[in-house]
């Protein structure tokens, strides 16, 4: 009877399904044009959502590592600074020792004492509640103050003198100590106290083990200097010898030996500290390089995430405008269709 027909119900419902779809689309497009990212990442990316998830997680991690690197950098630059001061201290001591022949031994001894005190205060510096030179044992003061009353280091030093010579530095017999005897004492008793087991027993609470930090996603490095390094031990030894031996009743000959040994020791200490400064500088460089690298990565990751999740805001805005227009047209048409009926013409 009819080639193509249309039923009244499909005529009145014709636009309904499309309107529904367009309105759902409009909600999405509005969200996208205001946020600049896709409305539903999961639906937009599907299985690739894992990439977006991984990227944003790695991005967070990189930012956290960059933050924690700034802590490490602070520690390293404080360390570098402290090493510079140590080097100055050593230099001053060396100057005093060089001038020792022309000045009284008391002045030299005072210079030694000042060096010990300076060194102790530098080595016991703390940053962020952690002792800088303590190795990993950062909650314990690394260096014993040799000049303080009751210092175990001083006691051990004096005891070794007494046990070697049979009297103390201030005894009248001390004046008879020969240069060779003094040299023997230093070699066999003083050196082990600093370069051997005596250092850990009397002087230092620091550990040889240094703080290890992760400075990038896959890189760890040592980021502290321990007070147990040879350069520091040698400086401590020189300063302690000058402080502990020049005060007493020693013969000029013995004192000269002490000054001579101390002088060469400070020289070695300066070299050692220089080495430490270089190592610290290298670590600082590694950390700052790692941070720079990670900042570049952060930029890249942000771009990747934007590539994955971002939408062109202009495109989204155009879509909103288009959809609004379509929906309005569709409403107008629906109203017209509802009016269009033969009934209106049958009277």
């Amino acid at each position: 009877m009819k080639a193509t027909s249309v039923s009244s119900s499909s005529l009145s419902n014709a636009a309904r399904y499309q309107q529904m779809r367009m309105q759902a689309e409009l909600v999405k497009a509005t969200k996208e044009s205001t946020t600049g990212t896709v409305a539903d990442v999961g639906l937009a990316l599907g299985a690739r959502t894992s990439q977006a998830v991984t990227f944003s997680r790695d991005l967070d991690r990189l930012n956290v590592i960059i933050d924690s690197n700034s802590l490490v950098t602070a520690r390293l630059s404080s360390t570098q600074d402290a090493l510079g001061q140590l080097s100055d201290t050593a230099q001053n001591l060396l100057t005093a020792l060089t001038a020792a022949g022309n000045s009284s031994s008391t002045i030299t001894q005072q210079a030694g004492k000042a060096a010990v005190q300076q060194m102790t205060s530098i080595l016991n510096a703390s940053v962020n509640g952690e002792y800088l030179f303590a190795g990993t044992n950062t909650d314990v003061k690394p260096i014993d103050d040799f000049t303080a009353a009751g210092s175990p280091a001083k006691a051990a030093f004096d005891a070794s003198f007494t046990s070697y010579f049979g009297f103390n530095q201030n005894a009248p017999q001390a004046a008879n100590i020969t240069a060779a005897q003094m040299d023997g004492f230093i070699t066999s008793n003083v050196v082990p106290q600093f370069m051997g087991a005596g250092w850990q027993a009397n002087w230092s609470n620091a550990t040889d083990q240094q703080i290890v930090s992760r400075i990038s996603l896959g890189e760890t490095t040592q980021t502290s200097v321990s007070a147990n390094e040879d350069g520091i031990r040698k400086l401590a030894m020189a300063a302690a010898m000058v402080t502990g031996l020049l005060s007493g009743n020693l013969s000029q000959e013995a004192k000269t030996t002490v000054v001579g040994r101390a002088q060469s020791m400070v020289g070695e200490a300066l070299g050692g500290i220089g080495q430490l400064q270089a190592e610290t500088g290298l670590a600082e460089k590694r950390v700052s390089d790692a941070s720079d690298r990670m900042k570049t990565q952060v930029d890249l990751f942000e771009r990747h995430i934007l590539d994955l999740e971002g939408v062109d805001p202009a495109e989204a805005a155009t879509r909103v405008a288009d959809l609004t227009q379509h929906i309005e047209t569709s409403f107008a048409l629906t109203a017209r269709l509802q009016q269009m009926s033969l009934l209106n013409y049958l009277t």
Binding site: M1, T49, T136, S213
Partner: protein
Amino acid sequence: MSLTSALTIAQQSLQTTSKQTSVLSRNIADASNTDYARRTAVVVSSAPGARSVEIQRAANALLFRQNLSAQSAWSGQSTLYSGIDRLAVAVNGVDNASSASTAIGKLQNALQLYAATPSNQNLGSNVIDAAKQVVRALNDGTNAIQDFRTQADGEISTAVDDLNALLSQFQDANKAVISATRSGTDASDALDQRDALLKKIADYVPVSTFTRGDNDMVITTKDGTTLFETIPRSVSFTPSPGYTAGTPGNTIYIDNVPVSAGSGGNTSADGKLAGLITLRDGVAATMQSQLDEVARGLITAFAETAPSQPDKTGLFTWSGGPAIPAAGTLIDGLAGSISVNAAMDPSVGGNPGLLRDGGANGAAYVANTAGNASYSQLLIAYGDKLDKPMPFDAAAGITVTSSVSDYAANAIGWFEGQRQQASTNADAKEALAARTAEALSNDTGVNVDQEMSLLLDLEHTYQASARMMKTVDDMLSALLDAVG
């Protein structure tokens, strides 16, 4: 021929016209009923000179069948999609905010901060808090999934009851059709009712039908199980009171044949029943396995090791602790039983410092023997282990070897992949269902304007017949006047 016969013919015409008008008004009344098929009152000549009206019902078996199958496909797909959508929010949260992957990312960050300053106990507590978030994400995820499965089970049970009720209504409608057909009366209303029921049944299961003598209809499911043949076949299902991870759900039986679940995001499951089974035993169960594997990965990554000692649980432990779960083997429900080790949890008197130093399982496991405050090696090692690939059970459906943090991200990728496919195909299948419904409506539905124009025709016929009678009446009375 006589005036009387002219009068009889006009009378008959009036009768026919009023019958046609009644059919037409019925059409108009049901114009917006989508289950109504338009009737046409056709005048046929039964014997020479005799006319009768026969009611024909517009039907298009092909379009109807197409509509039924589109309806089933859409019903299954939309059930799957809405279920996946619900699961996404319940387990992963909006924008994956409460997902295990996000929580693991935060744990890694907390660990990095603690490793940078191990002497700070607050940062240690911070790591434990982050670990608790991970545990909560996994525990809550497990609960949400099992709740979801229980709900799906309840929905299946309701759907099965509905289907049984529909089938018994179908029996009545079918009987009405048969008896109307046998007695030769108009079966149109009964047919409308039967088709409407068939559409509803197709929502639950995909159907295919064939009609036998006397318009008797037989329904089978798409894979050939008989659903209705003279009497409805029973659809049976026993709901489970609750679900735990790894418990398989009960099967739905139609005529003692099990209904199979569909597979894939673009699901092969047609109809609501298969869609629900796919959700309950497919998507939700796989998601649970993945959470369990994430939990196992975490326990393994944070295990405490010591020379010549067995590995034991560290930061994370489980119901089978302190032993470490076997490598590469799925343990059902692990995500529900994972917890933060009480030895490290300050809120129950534990010491977060054990994470830095080791020793949650006794002195043999202490790594920082000197108790140094800035010992970071162990913390850094844990961070490395989270990024180190380890074997995962293939049964959980995604990558077999990856790091635990990547695995958690991949789990989201797998799930969103399913969701995207389900969404795209739900749209496509909805469009097809809407389109076939429209085509069917166009072919068998009522167009009011057309009916109104037919009404005008009928009105004219009626007027003409009435005029005819009047004229004959006039002629007869003229004759009678002349006679009288």
